[in-house]
């Protein structure tokens, strides 16, 4: 399943500071085609900053990000937007447009990026994706009427509507109850099967990591300290900080 040959993302020597706050200090990371890579780290460790740099919401100070072999720094806005369409970004707080219904939320990126769709085609696509996230009857609801877990699902559906090849999930289970967490984890795995995506899942929740990740990468003090399978990273952990991360999660 895991194609070790083909890298879809290649990050090298990434450095990013906000003033005196040195967030990413030297980040190297590869994402292989078809895998789910889990990025773990304490809150404030720069996980969100990392994936925001990948889609050009933030700009690195140094280092390179290559997505599908394309160096993101070398792109103009038009080319960057073209690349962005191949990447789905699920935001931590879902980021649903709160003045629009669920249907309008899903249509919004679709009609603006795919020209000349008929009403029927749009409806078909919207319904297909709501079906995929198991929320077909929310179509006319406003985001304010949805629960946290439902918002997450709709947010994921909205990014999937453009058929991305890479999915970036920013803390998909944060703030959800344990049962809903498992549902979201299952959804992440289903998405991979169904849409053949390669994903980066950001979390500080080890249950989520274990369920969704083929590989783990632990971000500590602006660098990846351990990268590999769950067993390799945690059960054979030698690094004190990685170990304490593991212990903390399970003691809790």
């Amino acid at each position: 399943m895991l194609n070790e040959q083909e890298k879809v993302v290649e990050i090298r020597g990434l450095i990013k500071s906000f003033g005196e706050n040195h967030v990413l200090r030297n980040v190297d990371l590869d994402l292989y085609k078809g895998e789910n890579l889990v990025v773990l780290g304490k809150s404030g460790s720069g996980k969100s900053v990392l994936i925001k740099i990948m889609v050009g919401l933030l700009k690195q100070d140094e280092g390179s990000v290559k997505i599908f072999g394309i160096d993101t720094l070398k792109l103009n806005l038009k080319e960057l937007n073209k690349l962005r369409l191949r990447i789905g970004f699920s935001f931590q707080a879902s980021a649903l447009y709160d003045s629009m219904t669920v249907r309008e939320n899903l249509e919004f990126p679709l009609v603006r990026n795919v020209k000349n769709l008929t009403r029927k085609e749009i409806d078909f696509k919207v319904e297909e994706l709501l079906e995929a996230v198991a929320l077909p009857n929310t179509i006319n609801q406003m985001p304010s009427e949805l629960s946290g877990g439902q918002k997450k699902r709709i947010g994921i559906a909205r990014t999937l509507i453009l058929n991305p090849e890479i999915m970036l999930y920013d803390e998909p289970t944060a703030g959800l109850d344990p049962v809903t967490c498992i549902e979201i984890n299952n959804l992440i795995n289903e998405v991979r099967e169904r849409y053949k995506t390669s994903s980066i899942v950001i979390t500080h929740d080890l249950t989520c990591a274990k369920q969704t990740g083929d590989r783990m990468a632990v971000l500590i003090k602006g660098q990846f300290k351990a990268v590999g399978t769950f067993e390799k990273v945690f059960e054979e952990a030698t690094d004190k900080q990685v170990k304490s991360f593991y212990d903390y999660n399970f003691i809790r």
């Binding site: 005196e20 925001k52 889609v55 050009g56 919401l57 937007n81 073209k82 962005r84 369409l85 990447i87 970004f89 935001f91 931590q92 707080a93 980021a95 649903l96 447009y97 709160d98 003045s99 919004f108 990126p109 603006r112 990026n113 909205r158 990014t159 453009l162």
Partner: protein, 265 residues
């Protein structure tokens, strides 16, 4: 967390620095508006929706305020005119005051409270909840969809609202004049239209366009650049009102000078 900041510059020069970088940022924002407004995609539907929102939000308050201002201003002016036995000039006096100054100013101030603050809060909360980022990563230009639509809507709608305020204020004035001087509606409006010149109306429209643009762009700017976090939303709304009110007075002063220079040239 409590890291003591090194003060590496004298406070005054630091504040000046911030002031000028702030100015440059605001200027770049306005420049971006004029650069991008001409090119597609044109979000007509969103502009219309915003026009409706702006009208709908301001209408009740403007109706009330306009009418009361008409009555109050007429009643307050009456004694002075009565001293010269010139109360028959009331309609002319009021119509000039309303069309030249009160109508645009009152409408713009109310709109910056109602419209400016809600634009600032709305865009500010979209910023805080990453909805603006969400647009950007799906290759949609949020500046086009949010800023340009709202600024255009405010620019179009304020002149319409000003005409409405003018009308309502004159009706208020008529109510007072009719009760006291027993002037009929037609006589009243004949006097109004004799007093008001084309230049008055033209400059009132120009002024309203400027006020509308100011309310829209300032609301958007403050929202777009709100600090992350919930309190950023409130600050954005508040800053939008303060800033646009200040600018409206400055613009009023400048435009009045220019129009008077033309009028008496």
């Amino acid at each position: 967390m409590s890291k003591i900041k090194k003060v590496d510059k004298p406070v005054l020069s630091k504040n000046l620095d911030e002031f000028f970088t702030g100015m440059a940022k605001a200027f770049a924002f306005v420049k971006r508006f004029f650069k991008e407004v001409w090119f597609p995609p044109y979000e007509f539907k969103e502009v219309l929706r915003q026009c409706y929102e702006i009208g709908y939000r301001s209408l009740p308050l403007i109706s009330l305020t306009g009418f009361i201002i008409g009555i109050v201003f007429t009643n307050q002016s009456r004694p002075s005119l009565a001293e010269f036995g010139a109360t028959s000039w009331l309609p002319s006096l009021i119509s000039i005051a309303v069309v030249r100054a009160l109508g645009p100013l009152v409408t713009a101030l109310i709109a910056s409270g109602k419209v400016g603050s809600s634009i600032g809060a709305e865009i500010g909360s979209m910023n805080v909840t990453e909805q603006i980022d969400a647009m950007e990563v799906s290759a949609i230009n949020p500046f086009k969809y949010l800023v340009i639509t709202r600024t255009l809507a405010a620019t179009f709608m304020i002149p319409v609202l000003v005409m409405y305020t003018d009308f309502v204020a004159l009706m208020g004035s008529y109510a007072s004049v009719n009760a006291n001087e027993l002037v009929s509606l037609s006589t009243f409006f004949v006097q109004v239209f004799e007093a008001v010149s084309f230049l008055d109306i033209f400059s009132s429209v120009i002024k309203s366009l400027v006020f509308g643009f100011t309310i829209g762009i300032v609301g958007c700017y403050k929202g777009y650049n709100s600090s992350r976090g919930t309190e950023g939303v409130g600050q954005a709304a508040n800053a939008a009102v303060v800033m646009s009110m200040f600018l409206i007075f400055v613009e009023e002063l400048l435009i009045m000078q220019i129009v008077n220079a033309i009028r008496y040239a």
